[in-house]
């Protein structure tokens, strides 16, 4: 019986381990509750912006396909022919933007404001504004004032695009202002776009302001004179050369290459030059053609694939995208200096300041050609004479010329801006919808995505198709 009592004591002592400490182990050892150094968030935000919002992602890819820079030389249907599912841009909407750059920016602003890290706050606001503009340009009305509340609101209301655009300008102003303040801790190695250069961030902010003013030139009730004036004043404080561009330095390491290289060379393979683009450059006798495109292996000359057309017999029949653009190491800017020059030209043109407009127009073309020169097939060099001749042959005669030249210079790397310009101005006006397309026009916007439709059905605007227009696209 005495043994028995010992066994009982043992049993009880085992049972009584049931004290609370034993169970207090539910803290995740692999994920911290605080991001610590804000540079850690900054690295994620700058990399996501570069890789998913600008360099890769469907904004750029669809932009380049729908603007017929490039074409998918494969049997349709595919997104070249506007076969778009509601699931196709879930990543862009949710993972890259709202639950990506935007929520991290919001956290960075909250933590940064508390700690007085104004420079981080400033950059977060600029990246946030940039991302909201991408969302609004594609989807029109989007959650803005009610968004990003996480557990406090899983079903945000949608704001009208007009209001989002006002918010974007405010956000850029606040961001630029914050960059001008004292900050005990400034940007560190987490800034993968501008290496911690505060002044350059402010210049990038102003450049974006100019872009988003000019975006509204065709918006209902807008005054393009006023917008042009605002844009020009922003450009005064914006980038001064291509050296100011916020760029991401891709490498040739697998998985870390220029996203165009990843998508076209490593993944899709059937993405080649569009016939429309090749024809346009050939018509204009554009010296950039040998840099933007390779020659057809089969035929020797330059040959594009008509978007949506029957695939060519051989991939080798069609020109591939030029090696300069496919270089794994290519550094891709978030916004090019060339674009800013074209914006400047457009603003002057709209204000009737023809001489200033012509100068900016020529500067833009020259800057772009100089940038490409020496990079093409067999080191194609575009001589100064060629540039001058080209500008002379293609003078600024109207908005159509300007946007067309911007379209050419925006090849691939600014294709989403080309798409926005097309919707805003109707240029280039000779572009036709793809053959065998699912809808009879070049889509005028993106349809809302599953993650939002499924989980926020009450608030998602109904009746939206690829042919609906966003607010700034006029009527």
């Amino acid at each position: 019986m005495r043994y028995l009592s010992y066994i009982f004591i043992l049993a009880l002592s085992v049972g009584l381990v049931a004290c609370d400490d034993y169970l207090d182990i539910n803290t995740n050892p692999n994920q911290p509750e605080s991001p610590g150094d804000l540079d850690l968030l900054l690295a994620d935000m700058t990399a996501t912006t570069a890789y998913n919002l600008v360099g890769g992602g469907n904004w750029s890819r669809y932009g380049a396909q729908w603007m017929q820079n490039i074409a998918n030389n494969a049997a349709p249907p595919n997104n070249d022919t506007y076969r778009i599912n509601t699931s196709d841009c879930n990543n862009e909407w949710a993972f890259y933007s709202y639950a990506g750059v935007l929520i991290n920016a919001k956290k960075m602003i909250e933590i940064g404001e508390e700690a007085g890290q104004e420079h981080h706050v400033g950059v977060a606001k600029i990246l946030m504004a940039h991302n909201y503009a991408l969302l609004a340009d594609w989807w029109g009305d989007i959650p803005f004032s009610d968004a990003l509340l996480r557990e406090n609101n899983g079903r945000p209301l949608f704001d009208q695009q007009e209001l989002v655009y006002t918010g974007i300008q405010d956000m850029l102003d606040e961001g630029i202002a914050a960059l001008g303040k004292e900050s005990p801790i400034s940007l560190g190695g987490g800034d993968l776009l501008l290496g911690g250069d505060i002044a350059a961030w402010a210049r990038f902010g102003y450049a974006l302001k100019a872009r988003y003013y000019m975006r509204l030139t065709n918006a209902p009730g807008s005054d393009d004179q006023e917008l042009s004036t605002l844009a020009l004043s922003a450009i005064d404080k914006a980038m001064t050369s291509a050296a100011d561009e916020a760029t991401f330095a891709y490498t040739s390491d697998p998985g870390q290459e220029n996203p165009w290289n990843q998508w076209v060379v490593k993944f899709a393979n059937t993405i080649q030059m569009s016939a429309f683009f090749i024809d346009k450059l050939q018509t204009l006798n554009d010296p950039r053609l040998p840099i933007m495109a390779d020659t057809s292996v089969t035929f020797g000359g330059y040959l594009g694939h008509a978007n949506g057309g029957t695939p060519s017999n051989l991939l080798a029949d069609i020109s591939n995208i030029g090696a300069y653009y496919m270089d794994a190491d290519l550094d891709i800017p978030m916004m090019t200096y060339v674009e800013q020059l074209f914006l400047k030209a457009e603003a002057h043109w709209r204000l009737g300041q023809t001489a200033d407009a012509e100068m900016a127009y020529a500067d833009a073309i020259r800057a772009h050609m100089e940038q490409l020169s020496g990079n093409g097939e067999l080191g194609t060099v575009i001589s100064d004479t060629e540039i001058t001749d080209y500008i002379a042959a293609n003078p600024l005669g109207g908005l159509g010329d300007l946007i067309e030249q911007k379209y050419i210079a925006g090849f691939l790397l600014s294709a989403f801006e080309s798409y926005n310009d097309y919707r805003r101005t109707g240029f280039p006006d000779d572009i036709q919808p793809a053959q065998n397309a699912d809808v009879p026009v070049i889509p005028t916007r993106m349809i809302y995505t599953d993650t939002e439709i499924n989980n926020n059905a009450a608030n998602v605007p109904p009746g939206i198709t690829l042919e609906s227009k966003v607010w700034w696209d006029g009527d």
């Binding site: 049993a11 050892p29 996480r150 899983g154 945000p156």
Partner: protein
């Protein structure tokens, strides 16, 4: 410490006790005097026992104080015979009801079948070993009512899923708890590539692009199993608590039986298997728009087989068109690609027992080579068990199982690394294999293939593979002490510890995300410690039997995983992390603890009325502190009408009729680490497939806020189940029928509910929703003929389960379980669990399909595609399923015994998303695309034209239809997965014992088994509808580039010395 020493002292002291022993001999025979061979003799109250030999005689040594022997034989009424002074005991057994047989129930407690108040079904170890499945889960298939098993594909070492009474958890584990000899063991499937989520949505390789891995029940060697009990309902599993909410698979391993000498068994088995391939078109060459392309010329590569008919095609030696050439050669690429698989299974065991102790030792090895080269598996399993009666009151036992399972798999699925694309997709005019086994390189070192952008499958399987090497230990230690008459204290400690070391290699030159090579080393350390201590009390009053139990359980589970990946390799075929330019490491460590206190009481009245009450309280570490304690009760009862009602007693036809009813609640805790709201995690910027910016990036680290929002207010989940059952034996037990109706609802489920992306997150942990499973299950066993030399047995199971997703959470109507967003496998409110979701055609309110009747349109006569709405396009849950088995036994001890066994598995309904056809119809390689000349046409069914009239537009079957229009909406890809399958046929022969009488052999038998010899799945165009890219995970029914199922043939020899 002092206590511990005392306990050891106690143990040592008892071993020194000496028992007085005596030997009992006798003969067991049937009523007509025929000696019974192999009848079981057990000493009452112990596990000591023996079996009768050829002339029905036995010899057993028993303790001096042993009270009685229990003699039993299948199909005969067992007898308990008191031991008197005599040492000779002759016993006659009567044919009849076997209700007194003990059945293993929760916590390993044996109960008379008769006294059960809930449904339990048993499968004998022989049956599990006989069909020679590698994965024990597949071996259960079709045998147990209410249980659905699904294999995942034809690779050696692939996983299999088991579901009892439907899926009741949204995103949690839906499979039963596995318990071996009283110790819970892990049966999880841990995905490859550092994937850390059970449904494949976490960070790391998605199974969508890489395929599943195995479930850890694969480590269980069927050779060692004595019996398997399936506890189906909540009433049966209540004592196991939270983790048994989906049922329990209780496995009891073999134990030594008392005999004159050690029993040695040896069994060997050799088998081979063949791929079951879908049909492909055999008439058209590689090409497009009817024009021929010669895939041998790198400049002419194309993925499609829309070339000209081969019978008119003349080519030159290089394969180029040549009007003066010879007829083009064709190849059967899929058939050439798959090899004959094989398996070799050897098992040796030694066992024995004396009056106080028993032991069982076994070693077995299974070597399996899959139907894909380089896919193989090698499993070694060692089991040692020892039990001894240390004193009159104290019995201890210890056992350990060690398993080493080494599985090498090749990559399946939708990723470009997957080998299957080009096996099924290869044009018949292209020689995929080439002239020698490694003929997959061009002279310039690039891969030789008919198309761009995919790999040559021979290259892939030769060079890219995942090897998982698992060392697993299952030790257990048990002690039971009889404190007083009827009062016993039991303690059982067990552990399940395994180390899974995984190595993955992808060579330089692989087309995919990592063209310059990749490797990873994934170390998974999984540990589970479990202790159960129980106090039981049994008391027999006049008309009342009482069984009480109180107990405590402590369970601690932890997984430490460290995943290190290196990409951009420098030296070819050197797979060491030092060879990688970029190395990333990912840690995933979890630990959870559970403490349970439980009690049960069973009251039996006059052996015909039984009531069981149970209650359990759990304290779980995964719930918030304030909600971590939760209690749940159960009550169940049974009434044996044939004993209770006088007029039914002694009925000649209906010998036994029992009705039973039960109600149970089960609480369940949360996933680990679900209570913290904002967590940050290391960044990985990318779209998960094409590439990604890996952090640290050039020395800079990055973090992002988690997309999943935790919830600090979680409460336990609740499952409620009612169950009504009936069990009857008729015609002298020749007919046994058991039926159960159940209705189970799980409320307040804890799951990651999707939230609108615009809220800044993707999902949030919630307590919400309600899912119901209602169904019936039947078991019927009939012995129509039984004579001395011939017996015919039939068994059948039937299960019909209806799943209803009553509610999800506010604003959420669907949740993805697997696949793509479109198409994928989803849970949809009001539609059910595991529905197929994807793009669909435009329909009117009557459900008729709106047909495009514009003759100019490319889709003239075909449905209009719904603008932007995804919806339910199928349901993977079967309407019902059934198993039908039959056994014919011929012969007797003198002639030897032939047994012919067949098991038919039937599934009605259950759709499959055959995503293969999305690609293969586009390529023009499936059998259906052979109909492409436009001569045949069809009218899209249930269609309506714009003027409201019924669709009558003939759409020709031509290239445009198959290549361009098929698959415009994903609903084209849904196929009915109904099947009838001859799951197993076994013919075995046991040599006559009379022949062996004077040899060293006790038993020799040989057997031939065929698996899946016949499969009829009339509406499915793939290989085998029982396949899943997600392995045993929740996203079932997603069929995309999975290794085909197999047909297997096995030959085995079993010898007992």
């Amino acid at each position: 410490m002092k206590r511990l020493l005392l306990l050891f002292g106690l143990l040592l002291g008892t071993t020194l006790m000496v028992h007085a022993q005596r030997t009992i001999t006798g003969v067991v025979s049937e009523a007509d005097g025929t000696p019974m061979i192999g009848a079981s003799i057990m000493v009452k109250g112990t596990t000591t026992g023996t079996v009768t030999d050829l002339d029905g005689s036995f010899e057993i040594s028993v303790d001096a104080d042993a009270e009685a022997l229990i003699i039993s034989y299948t199909g005969f009424t067992p007898r308990e015979v008191e031991l008197g002074a005599s040492t000779v005991l002759n016993v006659v057994l009567d044919e009849g009801v076997t209700l007194e047989t003990a059945v293993v129930t929760a916590l390993g407690i044996e109960r008379d079948r008769k006294a059960l108040t809930y449904a339990v079904e048993e499968v004998g170890g022989d049956a599990l070993a006989q069909n020679r499945e590698t994965n024990i889960v597949n071996a259960i298939g079709g045998r147990v009512s209410g249980v659905q098993t699904t294999s995942s594909g034809g690779q050696a070492g692939s996983s299999a899923r088991i579901i009892i009474r439907g899926n009741s958890s949204f995103l949690g584990n839906n499979q039963p708890l596995f318990v071996i000899d009283g110790v819970p063991v892990d049966n999880s499937q841990i995905f490859g590539g550092g994937q850390n989520s059970g449904n494949g949505t976490g960070t790391g390789d998605s199974p969508l692009f890489f395929g599943g891995t195995t479930n850890r029940a694969v480590d269980i060697d069927p050779n060692n199993i004595e019996t398997m009990s399936i506890l189906k309902g909540a009433a049966a599993t209540a004592l196991y608590g939270s983790r048994a909410a989906n049922g329990v698979v209780l496995i009891t391993t073999k134990t030594g039986q008392q005999g004159t000498k050690p029993k040695i068994t040896f069994s060997t088995n050799y088998g081979f298997s063949e791929a079951r391939l879908p049909e492909f078109q055999t008439r058209y060459a590689q090409g497009l728009n009817g024009a021929y392309r010669n895939g041998n010329d790198p400049a002419q590569r194309i993925s499609t087989s829309w070339g000209p008919a081969i019978d008119t095609l003349l080519v030159d030696a290089d394969g180029n068109l040549d009007p003066n050439g010879s007829p083009i050669q064709t190849f059967n690429n899929p058939e050439d690609f798959f090899r004959q698989g094989s398996n070799l299974d050897n098992s040796l065991s030694v066992s024995g027992a004396n009056a106080t102790s028993d032991y069982f030792l076994s070693y077995s090895n299974r070597i399996e080579e899959g139907i894909v080269r380089n896919n193989d598996m090698d499993r070694h399993s060692l089991l040692a068990k020892f039990n001894t009666q240390l004193s009159d009151r104290l019995r201890i036992g210890a056992g350990i199982t060690y398993t080493n399972t080494d599985i090498t798999t090749v990559t399946e699925g939708n990723g470009r690394q997957s080998y299957m694309w080009t096996v099924y997709g290869a044009p018949i005019t292209y020689d995929l294999q080439g002239d020698n086994p490694q003929d997959y390189f061009n002279e310039d070192g690039t891969q030789r293939l008919y198309r761009t952008n995919r790999n040559n499958p021979y290259f892939t399987v030769d060079n890219n593979k995942l090897t998982s090497n698992v060392n697993r230990f299952l030790p257990n230690f048990s002690l039971s002490y009889e404190i007083a008459e009827g009062l016993a204290l039991n303690n059982r400690f067990g552990a399940d510890v395994y180390f899974d070391r995984r190595l993955y290699r992808e060579v330089i030159g692989t087309i995919g995300t990592f063209p310059t090579g990749r490797l990873y080393e994934d170390n998974i350390n999984n540990r589970q410690f479990n202790n159960d201590i129980t106090l039981t009390y049994t008391k027999q009053l006049d008309n009342i039997n009482l069984d009480f139990l109180v107990g405590n359980q402590i369970n601690d589970r932890a997984v430490d995983r460290i995943f290190t990946q290196g990409v951009n390799l420098a030296v070819p075929e050197f797979f060491d992390l030092s060879n990688a330019a970029t190395i990333t490491t990912n840690q995933n460590n979890t630990q959870r603890r559970l403490i349970g206190a439980y009690a049960s009481a069973t009251i039996g009245y006059k052996n015909f009325l039984y009531v069981t009450l149970t209650g359990r309280n759990d304290w779980s570490s995964t719930l918030p502190k304030d909600n971590r304690s939760y209690f749940y009760p159960s009550v169940s009862g049974s009434l044996i009408l044939t004993d209770a009602i006088a007029s039914l007693q002694g009925n000649k036809v209906l010998s036994f009729l029992k009705v039973r009813a039960g109600y149970a609640q089960v609480g369940n805790d949360a996933p680990v680490y679900a209570t913290q709201t904002d967590l940050y995690t290391q960044s990985s910027v990318g779209d998960g497939q094409r590439g990604s910016i890996l952090f640290p990036f050039n020395g800079t680290n990055g973090f992002t806020i988690s997309n999943v929002i935790g919830n600090p207010e979680l409460r336990p989940e609740r499952t409620e189940e009612i169950e009504f059952g009936l069990e009857a034996y008729l015609f002298n037990s020749r007919v046994h029928l058991e039926g159960t109706y159940y209705d189970r609802t799980t409320d307040d489920q804890i799951f990651q509910a999707p939230v609108a992306g615009s809220s800044g997150a993707v999902s949030r942990l919630v307590n919400a929703g309600s899912m119901q499973n209602e169904g019936v299950e039947f078991l019927l066993e009939v012995t129509p003929i039984k004579t001395r030399n011939f017996q015919w047995d039939i068994g059948g199971t039937f299960t019909k389960n209806t799943n209803r997703v009553v509610a999800l959470t506010d604003g959420v109507d669907n949740i993805r379980l697997g696949g793509f967003t479109n198409p994928g496998i989803y849970i949809v409110r009001n539609e059910g669990y595991g529905v197929i979701w994807g793009s669909q055609y435009e329909r009117n309110d009557e459900g008729q399909v709106l047909i495009d009747d514009n003759p100019e349109s490319g889709t003239y006569g075909l449905p209009l595609r719904a603008a932007s709405s995804l919806g339910v396009i199928g349901n993977t849950q079967p309407d019902w399923f059934a198993g039908l088995r039959t056994t014919f036994t011929f012969g007797n001890e003198k002639t030897g015994r032939f047994t012919l066994f067949g098991l038919l598995d039937i599934r009605e309904g259950g759709d499959i998303l055959n995503l293969d056809n999305f690609y293969l119809n586009f390529y023009g390689v499936t059998k259906q695309t052979e109909d492409r000349t436009g001569e045949n046409s069809f009218v899209f069914p249930n269609g309506v034209l714009s003027d409201g009239s019924a669709n009558n537009i003939e759409v020709p079957y031509d290239e445009a239809y198959w290549r361009i229009n098929f698959g415009r909406a994903m609903e084209d890809l849904v196929e009915d997965g109904s099947f009838i399958r001859l799951r197993e046929v076994t013919l075995s022969y046991a040599l006559p014992r009379t022949l062996l009488q004077n040899s060293v052999f006790e038993d020799i038998s040989v057997a031939m088994t065929g698996r899946n010899l016949y499969l009829n799945a009339p509406n499915f165009t793939g290989s085998d509808p029982e396949s899943s890219l997600y392995g045993s995970a929740n996203g079932q029914g997603f069929y995309n580039f999975i290794t085909p199922g197999t047909v297997g043939y096995n030959f085995s020899l079993n010898v007992t010395f």
